[in-house]
């Protein structure tokens, strides 16, 4: 178990390093940074000034080691546009994105697991069909458009929730639905197919032969085994949701990491972009690691290895 965790951590670290190299080299490939920071109206002297100020005149390797050394200490340099420490910006925005992600995950799990279980138990019934229809349409819906539609319906027409802003919890409801709906189909399908498979298993017949109540058979014996891959998927989906927050936070004007990233991208504020890409990648890596460990905890057969 510990050897496994150690090995996975090692891989995770090297993946993180690779991504930071990639982030950095993308930046270098993008042309003369000083020029893009200065903007089209900057004079040659101003550009030279910027170059020295941001250390862009030094060799690439030196720039990289400086950046990565900073990153390890959670220092991602200064933002070109906001004129403040990148890390301060991130720390300020992170809670919004995390709240959004967790809420979206809760919605996705809360919808997909019960629906998947019922669909499997009532296979071929109208409820199964409806669940599959939700899955198919959910995967086909562009999430930014779904978000806009939610705004029109629930914020403008019905006025149940605010259309934008993260000041109150109501502001999170619509974006969390928009983000969570996108992850629901995959988890629901996995729950449904897992339940169908498990319900056919011999140990379910054993449980019934013991005269256990239907609820015990379904929840203790079937769901427990069917849900293992769903939990792993949920962790990975949360990683994807943090990445997908760019779109949803922009649509709903939430002051989170995603919106910060989008603002930074449109203003060529590369230290911020680099930092956010790396942070989200790290989150994803940690989440997949957690997914693996959760798998091992939930499935005794994996624990021994």
């Amino acid at each position: 178990m510990w050897a496994f965790v150690f090995k996975r951590t090692l891989i995770a670290l090297s993946v993180a390093l690779t991504i930071s190299v990639l982030c950095f080299s993308l930046l270098q490939l993008s042309g003369d940074l000083a020029l893009s920071i200065g903007g089209p109206e900057a004079t040659a002297e101003q550009v030279e000034q910027i170059r020295i100020e941001y250390g862009l005149d030094r060799p690439v390797i030196e720039q990289f080691t400086t950046w990565i050394w900073g990153a390890v200490q959670l220092d991602f340099g200064r933002s070109y546009y906001y004129q403040s420490e990148v890390m301060d910006l991130v720390v300020e925005r992170l809670p919004v994105t995390m709240t959004l992600g967790m809420l979206a995950l809760a919605i996705a799990l809360g919808v997909s697991i019960p629906l998947g279980v019922v669909a499997a138990l009532k296979r071929g019934s109208w409820i199964d069909r409806a669940a599959m229809a939700i899955a198919v349409t959910g995967q086909a819906m562009p999430n930014f458009w779904f978000g806009l539609t939610l705004i029109i319906l629930f914020a403008v027409k019905l006025q149940w929730f605010p259309a934008a802003g993260s000041d109150s919890w109501q502001g999170f409801v619509l974006p969390a639905i928009a983000l969570g709906y996108y992850a629901t189909p995959a988890m629901m399908r996995l729950t449904r197919s897992g339940m169908l498979e498990v319900l056919e298993a011999d140990y379910i017949r054993t449980a019934r032969a013991k005269g256990l109540r239907t609820g015990t058979v379904i929840f203790k014996h079937a769901l427990r085994n069917a849900v293992i891959p769903v939990v792993a998927l949920a962790a990975v989906e949360l990683g994807f949701m943090l990445g997908g927050s760019v779109v949803i936070e922009t649509v709903f004007s939430l002051r989170g990491l995603g919106q910060l990233a989008w603002n930074a991208i449109s203003r060529n504020d590369y230290p911020v972009v680099q930092a956010i890409v790396l942070i989200i990648a790290l989150f994803y890596i940690v989440l997949t690691l957690i997914a693996d460990i959760l798998n091992a905890v939930l499935d005794p057969r994996l624990r021994a290895r």
């Binding site: 891989i11 090297s14 993946v15 993180a16 690779t18 991504i19 990639l22 993308l26 490939l29 993008s30 042309g31 296979r123 198919v136 349409t137 995967q139 086909a140 819906m141 562009p142 999430n143 930014f144 458009w145 806009l148 539609t149 705004i151 029109i152 403008v156 995959a186 399908r189 996995l190 449904r192 197919s193 169908l196 498979e197 891959p229 998927l233 994807f240 943090l242 990445g243 997908g244 760019v246 779109v247 922009t250 995603g258 990233a261 989008w262 991208i265 449109s266 060529n268 972009v273 956010i276 890409v277 989200i280 990648a281 994803y284 890596i285 997949t288």
Partner: protein, 302 residues
């Protein structure tokens, strides 16, 4: 994704021709396959015949005729069945030309990413060992990168255009191809006909192209349909955020972005292109589901 890892592989041991005949045969039985094919074929024809089908020039602006509502509104007219946008351009014509953008990007992205992913996956699956370790590492790295964010940043660096978006997505979306090709090839590696070819001293490219590839094609086609859908959605997302296809191109995502300011009073400006996207992606997904059912004979519903 986990479903993809496990399900379609069983089907791949059929020679291509019976696979095709089964496709034709079961299209009539398999409803989602039939509906998907029908919609995609119609939209394909719309894309090809766009210049003849579109009632107006999609780029022609007419400021006197701005924001004309579609035909189902009281003030709508048959001159502009789906209305006009804020610059007075005919919405239907833009929608028709937009089909070209979505389909082109979807197909080319799937082609590029399919080429990359399949190559990596087949090599990893066939050789195993270090090759597999390297590919798995690349895969992990790729999966850890947030696609939308990286694509946005890159597109902003390189300047958004149809070509940039296509290349970027092509370079980013190969992961599922690699995963499926890898596991399918691993299962084939020990198949008798592959071992026979090895024993006969067939050259490696021959084994990979003639023995392995045709037998994992079924699984890859299913992935390809999903990736086409994925690419179309991502293109729309990038264009919506202003880093994808640039104005005045009639990308559906861009149309939604341009209509966003008007959506509170005239919701149809985003409903129409959004529905078009939804129908196209839905059709592709239905096709993919249908193909997956085909390639898992008598199989489970997944």
């Amino acid at each position: 994704m986990a479903q993809l890892l496990s399900s379609p592989v069983a089907a791949t041991h059929h020679p291509a021709n019976t696979w095709l005949s089964r496709l034709v045969h079961s299209t009539f039985k398999n409803r989602s396959l039939a509906i998907g094919l029908l919609i995609i074929t119609s939209l394909g024809i719309v894309a090809l015949l766009a210049p003849w089908l579109a009632p107006h020039d999609p780029y022609l602006q007419n400021t006197a005729n701005r924001m004309v509502p579609p035909i189902w509104h009281e003030t709508g007219s048959w001159t502009h069945p789906l209305g006009t946008d804020r610059l007075g351009r005919d919405y239907l014509s833009r929608l028709i030309y937009g089909t070209r953008i979505s389909l082109f990007i979807g197909l080319v992205v799937a082609l590029i990413s399919g080429l990359i992913g399949t190559t990596l996956g087949v090599l990893a699956g066939y050789f195993g060992g270090r090759v597999d370790a390297v590919v798995s590492y690349l895969l992990t790295t790729r999966l850890a990168m947030p696609v939308v964010l990286v694509a946005l940043a890159m597109a902003s660096l390189m300047g958004g255009s149809m070509l940039t978006v296509t290349l970027l997505l092509g370079l980013l979306l190969w992961d599922r191809f690699a995963v499926v090709a890898r596991s399918a090839t691993q299962q084939l590696r020990d198949a008798e006909y592959v071992q026979a070819a090895q024993a006969l001293g067939c050259p490696l490219p021959y084994i990979l192209l003639r023995e392995v590839l045709p037998n994992i094609a079924g699984a890859l086609i299913v992935v390809a349909t999903l990736e086409v859908a994925n690419a179309i959605l991502l293109e729309a997302t990038l264009s919506f955020l202003g880093m994808g296809v640039q104005p005045p191109s009639p990308s559906w995502g861009l149309m939604i972005a341009e209509g966003k300011a008007y959506m509170f009073f005239q919701p149809w400006v985003i409903t129409i292109p959004g529905s078009a996207l939804f129908v196209l992606v839905l059709a592709i997904n239905l096709l993919g589901d249908g193909l997956r059912d085909l390639s898992a004979p008598g199989g489970r519903n997944e």
